[in-house]
Protein backbone atom coordinates (compact mmCIF):
# COMPACT_ATOMS: atom_id res chain seq x y z
CA UNK A 1 0.00 0.00 0.00
CA UNK A 2 1.44 3.36 -0.93
CA UNK A 3 0.92 6.37 1.30
CA UNK A 4 -1.99 8.63 0.38
CA UNK A 5 -3.45 11.61 2.17
CA UNK A 6 -6.39 9.43 3.22
CA UNK A 7 -4.19 6.99 5.08
CA UNK A 8 -5.34 6.41 8.61
CA UNK A 9 -3.90 5.19 11.88
CA UNK A 10 -5.00 3.39 15.00
CA UNK A 11 -2.53 4.15 17.80
CA UNK A 12 -2.28 1.69 20.67
CA UNK A 13 -0.58 2.97 23.84
CA UNK A 14 0.51 0.30 26.33
CA UNK A 15 3.03 2.33 28.35
CA UNK A 16 1.88 4.49 31.27
CA UNK A 17 2.75 8.16 31.73
CA UNK A 18 5.41 8.75 34.42
CA UNK A 19 6.60 5.18 33.82
CA UNK A 20 7.39 5.30 30.10
CA UNK A 21 7.85 7.66 27.16
CA UNK A 22 4.98 6.04 25.26
CA UNK A 23 2.40 8.84 25.74
CA UNK A 24 4.91 11.48 24.60
CA UNK A 25 6.12 9.63 21.51
CA UNK A 26 2.57 8.70 20.54
CA UNK A 27 1.37 12.30 20.85
CA UNK A 28 4.24 13.66 18.76
CA UNK A 29 3.52 10.95 16.17
CA UNK A 30 -0.20 11.74 16.17
CA UNK A 31 0.44 15.46 15.63
CA UNK A 32 2.86 14.73 12.78
CA UNK A 33 0.37 12.36 11.17
CA UNK A 34 -2.37 15.02 11.19
CA UNK A 35 0.02 17.64 9.86
CA UNK A 36 0.81 15.31 6.96
CA UNK A 37 -2.90 15.13 6.17
CA UNK A 38 -3.51 11.64 7.53
CA UNK A 39 -6.35 10.59 9.78
CA UNK A 40 -6.20 9.11 13.29
CA UNK A 41 -9.13 6.74 13.59
CA UNK A 42 -8.71 6.16 17.30
CA UNK A 43 -6.27 5.98 20.17
CA UNK A 44 -6.59 2.76 22.15
CA UNK A 45 -5.14 2.47 25.67
CA UNK A 46 -4.22 -1.06 26.71
CA UNK A 47 -2.49 -2.63 29.73
CA UNK A 48 -0.54 -0.04 31.72
CA UNK A 49 -1.44 2.50 29.03
CA UNK A 50 -4.88 3.04 30.60
CA UNK A 51 -3.34 5.25 33.29
CA UNK A 52 -3.08 7.97 30.63
CA UNK A 53 -6.86 8.40 31.03
CA UNK A 54 -6.64 9.33 34.72
CA UNK A 55 -8.55 12.49 35.68
CA UNK A 56 -6.66 12.64 38.99
CA UNK A 57 -3.05 12.53 37.79
CA UNK A 58 -1.28 15.57 39.29
CA UNK A 59 2.39 15.73 38.27
CA UNK A 60 4.67 18.41 39.72
CA UNK A 61 4.14 21.75 37.95
CA UNK A 62 7.50 21.48 36.13
CA UNK A 63 6.57 18.12 34.54
CA UNK A 64 4.35 17.75 31.47
CA UNK A 65 0.78 16.80 32.32
CA UNK A 66 0.41 13.95 29.80
CA UNK A 67 -3.24 13.07 30.53
CA UNK A 68 -4.31 16.70 29.99
CA UNK A 69 -2.10 17.13 26.90
CA UNK A 70 -3.70 14.06 25.39
CA UNK A 71 -7.22 14.99 26.43
CA UNK A 72 -7.02 18.43 24.83
CA UNK A 73 -5.52 16.98 21.65
CA UNK A 74 -8.28 14.36 21.37
CA UNK A 75 -10.94 16.99 22.10
CA UNK A 76 -9.63 19.51 19.59
CA UNK A 77 -9.16 16.93 16.84
CA UNK A 78 -12.33 14.97 17.64
CA UNK A 79 -10.43 11.71 17.82
CA UNK A 80 -11.92 8.90 19.94
CA UNK A 81 -9.69 7.96 22.89
CA UNK A 82 -10.61 4.54 24.22
CA UNK A 83 -9.37 2.73 27.32
CA UNK A 84 -9.76 -1.05 27.17
CA UNK A 85 -12.42 -1.99 29.71
CA UNK A 86 -10.64 -5.06 31.12
CA UNK A 87 -7.30 -3.25 31.51
CA UNK A 88 -9.00 -0.17 32.96
CA UNK A 89 -11.14 -1.96 35.55
CA UNK A 90 -8.22 -4.01 36.90
CA UNK A 91 -6.15 -0.87 37.26
CA UNK A 92 -8.81 1.35 38.83
CA UNK A 93 -9.84 3.55 35.87
CA UNK A 94 -13.64 3.82 35.77
CA UNK A 95 -16.30 6.04 34.23
CA UNK A 96 -19.69 6.89 35.75
CA UNK A 97 -21.40 3.88 34.28
CA UNK A 98 -18.78 1.42 35.64
CA UNK A 99 -18.90 3.23 38.97
CA UNK A 100 -22.64 2.53 39.19
CA UNK A 101 -22.36 -1.04 37.94
CA UNK A 102 -19.70 -1.99 40.51
CA UNK A 103 -20.98 0.37 43.25
CA UNK A 104 -17.65 2.17 43.52
CA UNK A 105 -16.98 5.32 45.56
CA UNK A 106 -16.12 7.56 42.59
CA UNK A 107 -15.10 7.71 38.93
CA UNK A 108 -11.84 9.00 37.53
CA UNK A 109 -11.90 8.71 33.74
CA UNK A 110 -10.69 11.91 32.11
CA UNK A 111 -12.98 13.31 29.41
CA UNK A 112 -13.03 12.73 26.41
CA UNK A 113 -11.57 9.25 27.05
CA UNK A 114 -14.16 6.47 26.90
CA UNK A 115 -14.18 2.87 28.03
CA UNK A 116 -14.80 0.07 25.52
CA UNK A 117 -13.72 -3.44 24.64
CA UNK A 118 -10.92 -4.94 22.55
CA UNK A 119 -13.32 -4.91 19.58
CA UNK A 120 -12.23 -1.30 19.06
CA UNK A 121 -8.66 -2.49 18.62
CA UNK A 122 -9.75 -5.27 16.25
CA UNK A 123 -11.69 -2.76 14.17
CA UNK A 124 -8.59 -0.58 13.99
CA UNK A 125 -6.58 -3.58 12.83
CA UNK A 126 -9.09 -4.12 10.02
CA UNK A 127 -9.93 -0.58 8.91
CA UNK A 128 -6.93 1.66 9.61
CA UNK A 129 -4.06 1.70 7.15
CA UNK A 130 -1.64 1.11 10.01
CA UNK A 131 -2.03 0.13 13.67
CA UNK A 132 1.01 1.22 15.67
CA UNK A 133 1.99 0.32 19.22
CA UNK A 134 3.63 2.58 21.77
CA UNK A 135 5.02 0.35 24.50
CA UNK A 136 6.81 0.96 27.77
CA UNK A 137 10.57 0.95 27.40
CA UNK A 138 11.81 -0.89 30.46
Amino acid sequence: MAATDRDSFTLVITGAPYASQAPQTALAFARAALEAGHRIDRVFLYGEGVHLASALSTPPSDETHWPREWASFLQAQEIPGIACIASALRRGLVDESEQRRYELSSHNLLSPFQIAGLGEWVEGRIKSTRTLYFHGGS
Binding site: V12, T14, G15, Y46, G47, E48, G49, A86, S87, R90, G117, L118, G119, W121, V122, E123, R125, I126, T131, Y133, H135, G136
Partner: protein
Protein backbone atom coordinates in the same frame (compact mmCIF):
# COMPACT_ATOMS: atom_id res chain seq x y z
CA UNK B 1 -4.83 -9.90 7.41
CA UNK B 2 -3.26 -12.47 9.72
CA UNK B 3 -1.95 -11.23 13.07
CA UNK B 4 0.89 -12.64 15.14
CA UNK B 5 0.69 -12.00 18.90
CA UNK B 6 4.04 -12.43 20.66
CA UNK B 7 4.37 -13.28 24.36
CA UNK B 8 7.93 -12.85 25.59
CA UNK B 9 7.37 -12.14 29.26
CA UNK B 10 7.58 -14.74 32.02
CA UNK B 11 4.28 -16.00 33.46
CA UNK B 12 2.85 -14.70 36.78
CA UNK B 13 5.43 -11.94 37.23
CA UNK B 14 3.52 -9.65 34.87
CA UNK B 15 0.07 -9.43 33.30
CA UNK B 16 1.36 -8.81 29.76
CA UNK B 17 1.01 -12.46 28.80
CA UNK B 18 -2.62 -12.65 29.97
CA UNK B 19 -3.46 -9.42 28.19
CA UNK B 20 -1.80 -10.70 25.01
CA UNK B 21 -3.98 -13.82 25.21
CA UNK B 22 -7.05 -11.59 25.53
CA UNK B 23 -5.98 -9.80 22.35
CA UNK B 24 -5.59 -13.09 20.52
CA UNK B 25 -9.00 -14.39 21.58
CA UNK B 26 -10.59 -11.08 20.62
CA UNK B 27 -9.22 -11.35 17.11
CA UNK B 28 -10.60 -14.87 16.87
CA UNK B 29 -13.98 -13.72 18.23
CA UNK B 30 -14.18 -11.22 15.36
CA UNK B 31 -13.19 -13.92 12.84
CA UNK B 32 -9.74 -12.51 12.28
CA UNK B 33 -6.81 -14.83 11.64
CA UNK B 34 -4.48 -14.91 14.65
CA UNK B 35 -1.51 -16.94 15.83
CA UNK B 36 0.50 -16.96 19.05
CA UNK B 37 4.27 -17.01 19.41
CA UNK B 38 5.91 -17.65 22.80
CA UNK B 39 9.54 -16.63 23.05
CA UNK B 40 12.18 -15.73 25.66
CA UNK B 41 10.97 -16.46 29.21
CA UNK B 42 7.44 -16.37 27.75
CA UNK B 43 7.84 -20.04 26.75
CA UNK B 44 7.37 -20.91 30.41
CA UNK B 45 3.63 -20.28 29.98
CA UNK B 46 3.65 -23.57 28.04
CA UNK B 47 5.05 -25.86 30.74
CA UNK B 48 2.78 -28.68 31.89
CA UNK B 49 1.55 -29.02 35.49
CA UNK B 50 1.58 -25.39 36.64
CA UNK B 51 -0.29 -24.72 39.89
CA UNK B 52 -0.57 -21.03 40.67
CA UNK B 53 -3.30 -21.02 43.33
CA UNK B 54 -0.81 -20.48 46.17
CA UNK B 55 0.30 -17.23 44.57
CA UNK B 56 -3.31 -16.15 44.01
CA UNK B 57 -3.36 -16.57 40.25
CA UNK B 58 -4.81 -18.95 37.66
CA UNK B 59 -2.90 -20.92 35.06
CA UNK B 60 -3.73 -20.45 31.40
CA UNK B 61 -3.45 -24.11 30.32
CA UNK B 62 -7.22 -24.42 29.77
CA UNK B 63 -7.34 -21.18 27.80
CA UNK B 64 -4.53 -22.38 25.55
CA UNK B 65 -6.15 -25.79 25.13
CA UNK B 66 -9.29 -24.00 23.90
CA UNK B 67 -7.37 -21.87 21.40
CA UNK B 68 -7.95 -24.12 18.35
CA UNK B 69 -11.68 -24.33 19.16
CA UNK B 70 -11.88 -20.54 19.13
CA UNK B 71 -10.16 -20.48 15.75
CA UNK B 72 -6.65 -19.46 16.74
CA UNK B 73 -4.43 -20.75 13.94
CA UNK B 74 -1.32 -21.81 15.75
CA UNK B 75 0.49 -21.80 19.08
CA UNK B 76 4.18 -21.57 18.36
CA UNK B 77 7.17 -21.64 20.69
CA UNK B 78 10.71 -20.48 20.08
CA UNK B 79 12.81 -23.65 19.81
CA UNK B 80 15.95 -22.16 21.35
CA UNK B 81 14.04 -20.55 24.26
CA UNK B 82 12.43 -23.93 24.99
CA UNK B 83 15.85 -25.56 24.99
CA UNK B 84 17.20 -22.88 27.29
CA UNK B 85 14.38 -23.52 29.77
CA UNK B 86 14.60 -27.31 29.55
CA UNK B 87 11.24 -27.57 27.80
CA UNK B 88 11.11 -30.80 25.82
CA UNK B 89 8.12 -31.93 23.77
CA UNK B 90 7.19 -34.07 26.80
CA UNK B 91 7.10 -31.14 29.22
CA UNK B 92 5.19 -28.81 26.86
CA UNK B 93 1.40 -28.70 26.86
CA UNK B 94 -0.23 -30.26 23.78
CA UNK B 95 -0.61 -28.47 20.47
CA UNK B 96 2.55 -26.36 20.48
CA UNK B 97 4.68 -26.13 17.33
CA UNK B 98 8.40 -25.40 17.75
CA UNK B 99 9.67 -22.68 15.40
CA UNK B 100 12.77 -20.56 14.84
CA UNK B 101 11.70 -16.90 14.94
CA UNK B 102 13.41 -14.66 12.43
CA UNK B 103 12.65 -12.63 9.30
CA UNK B 104 10.97 -15.58 7.56
CA UNK B 105 8.53 -16.18 10.39
CA UNK B 106 7.53 -12.55 10.94
CA UNK B 107 7.09 -12.01 7.20
CA UNK B 108 4.23 -14.52 7.18
CA UNK B 109 2.03 -12.12 9.16
CA UNK B 110 0.59 -8.79 8.08
CA UNK B 111 0.69 -7.58 11.62
CA UNK B 112 2.71 -8.42 14.72
CA UNK B 113 1.87 -7.18 18.21
CA UNK B 114 3.19 -7.44 21.74
CA UNK B 115 0.85 -6.72 24.66
CA UNK B 116 3.33 -4.34 26.27
Amino acid sequence: MSTLIVIDQAPYGSWAGREALDMTFSLAAFDQEAALLFTGPGVNWLRKAQQASEIGQKTVEKNLAAAPVFGIEAIMADRSACARYGLSEASLIAGVALVDPGPDLYRQYDHTAFAG
